[in-house]
Amino acid sequence: MSLATRWARFRKSEGGSGLALVSPTAIYAILLLAAPLATILLFSVLTDGYLVVEPVFTFGNYIETWTNRIYRSVMMRSLGVSVAVTVLTVLLAYPVAYFVSFHVQPSKKSLWLFLITIPFWTSYLIRVFLWKVILGYNGVINSGLMATGIIDEPLTAISYNVQAFVVTLAHAYAPFAILPIYVVLEKIDRSLLEAGQDLGESKFRTFLRVTLPLSVPGIAAAVLIVFIPTIGDYVTPNLIGGGKIPMIANMIEVLMLVRDNKPLGAAIAVSAMAIVTAVSLLFLFTIRKYLRGQK
């Protein structure tokens, strides 16, 4: 069989047309996602030279990443902030999603969802900056409290610290958590809740035994959607923390761009990715019982 007829056959086959359809996306993904990732992976096992990356294989960057106290504590802080943001966001998002799904009239639901997404209309940067205005030393809260005479000098506990990051990020990611939870709540057959009560359980116990377990897939999606990006966030620490309390992403930025130690930055980045993946998988493994076998 000649190459030409093979080619003609391939073009007509289902696989061929499928490949043709995905190829623009695939090329885009390979160039802009897979290739940079591969570069980072490669850099992480090479040696740092002066303004260049020496092609000499080493595990030294990883050893430095995992043994240096500074990197370890920044990594732990980032993880802590992410976990706190995730827990807070999901805890606040769940009642909102529940309210919209169960207590808003069907005709008004889309209006509510529309209102929930309004924060997305402004850029993320502006929203973060607005929190700075609210929480800052001369911000809305402090000046308000001072004007009413409740406090004499500005509170420092509400800005330039980890709690401020958590508040800012939790607000920024709220719609990301509300929407997946809302979707699973919408899918729950309402007769299941009646069945729960019919079988003798109170409304609250029915929620615990029926609604909550059935909404776990949505909670899982919300957790991952919030947890994964927040750990890499570096805008908020810069603006809200004034750059004084670095997170892991700020660390990577400094190493890569300021200190020009690309291999070490890459090793930290890969390690952070590995940790996020491990934590996410562990989370999914723990709740696996609720994720399968539903129809």
């Binding site: 009646e194 069945a195 009560q197 019919d198 079988l199 003798g200 359980e201 029926v210 539903q294 129809k295």
Partner: protein, 364 residues
């Protein structure tokens, strides 16, 4: 049956949804151990009425009593009723066992006692050995059985069934009808079934309430409902009924003399006019199987008249003849059991038809 105690009592029950009047003064009593059906077309309020018993709908006025107790303000989880939902409402995140044992959790039984009771309930509905299966791995019929076991394991005073068979195919439905009747006799619990399928109601029930537009049109046992419907509407909804224009000539001493278009003058018993006067015109009704096409040599047991066959529908075991009785403008339907060796008659045949005044019902 009359000596049985009352289990459910509706006292002038009204239900409004905004301006919509869904239940318009329901008065009825359902007896303990009875298989009771609420029958009617969709939107007649039968499901709403069932849900007022379960506690899922609050009534606007009137009262619902279960076993002599007023149910006002009693939430669904504290009522002595359990329900089999139309969608079965099987918890998808639980196994069959966990579904069936759902309502027993509060009783904090020992593990082996719980397992035994769940096992018994599953055996009762013919699902022995299915306990460990996930709910998603069940067929429609099996889901229905799980829903039944889950409700019956709690030994309710009343079991409510909301169109439980409507999602099953015909064979399965007929099988489940028989099983439900047997189950009800076995457990002796009051069953209340909501259905729009008149045949299902006739097959299964001790008594049936036929509902139209939020009102009970007739409440009777299946035979009475079939033989003596109290309105044209009920007659039309249950089975097939032929109608013939008629007028009342005289009425005295429990006898009514009626002039009919097809049968001429006929005298019937007052019991054959069970309905109230509606003013919508007078007519005589009769079921297709109460007429017989007579073959040569056959003699009518009661009366006979002449007719022309206009349409023949052959069903194998049955034949439907649409015949025009002499003197009538519109045809009436006759259903006949086919007997081996007797031919199916052709369209256009002139034939004698046997009928009986005792099978007529007067509507006026």
């Amino acid at each position: 049956m009359n000596e049985r105690p009352t289990m459910i009592e509706f006292q002038d029950v009204h239900k409004y949804y905004g301006d919509y009047h869904a239940l318009r003064g329901i008065n009825a009593t359902i007896k303990a151990g009875e298989f009771f059906s609420l029958l009617g077309p969709s939107g007649c309020g039968k499901t709403t009425l069932l849900r007022t018993i379960a506690g899922f709908e609050e009534i606007s006025s009137g009262a619902v009593l279960i076993d002599g107790k007023h149910m006002e303000g009693v939430p669904a989880n504290q009522r002595p009723t359990n329900m089999v939902f139309q969608s079965y409402a099987i918890f998808p995140h639980l196994t069959v066992e966990e579904n069936v044992g759902f309502g027993l959790r509060r009783e904090r039984l020992a593990k082996d006692v719980l397992a035994r009771r769940v096992g018994e309930a599953l055996e009762m509905v013919g699902l022995k050995g299915y306990g460990a299966r996930g709910a998603h791995a069940l067929s429609g019929g099996q889901r229905q059985r799980v829903a039944l076991a889950r409700a019956l394991i709690l030994k309710p005073k009343v079991l409510l069934l909301d169109e439980p068979l409507s999602a099953l195919d015909k064979k399965m439905r007929e099988q489940m009808q028989v099983e439900l009747i047997k189950l009800q006799r076995q457990v002796g619990i009051t069953f209340i079934l909501v259905t729009h399928d008149q045949e299902e109601a006739l097959v299964m029930s001790d008594r049936i309430a036929v509902m139209f537009e939020g009102e009970i049109a007739q409440l009777a046992d299946p035979e009475t409902l079939y033989r003596r419907p109290n309105s044209r509407k009920v007659a039309d909804f249950i089975g097939t009924m032929n109608f013939m224009p008629a007028s009342v000539v005289s009425e005295s001493g429990g006898r009514i003399e009626v002039d009919t278009q097809g049968f001429g003058r006929v005298e019937i018993d007052a019991a054959q006019a069970p309905g109230a006067t509606t003013g919508n015109g007078t007519s005589i009704g009769f079921r297709p199987e109460t007429l017989t096409v007579l073959f040569e040599g056959q003699v009518a047991a009661d009366r006979e008249c002449m007719a022309t066959i206009e349409e023949v529908v052959y069903f194998g075991d049955m034949t439907y003849y649409d015949v025009r009785l002499d003197g009538m403008q519109t045809p009436v339907r006759i259903s006949m059991r086919n007997v081996f060796g007797r031919p199916v008659l052709d369209i256009g045949t002139r034939t004698r038809v046997a009928w009986s005044p005792g099978a007529l019902v007067l509507f006026r």
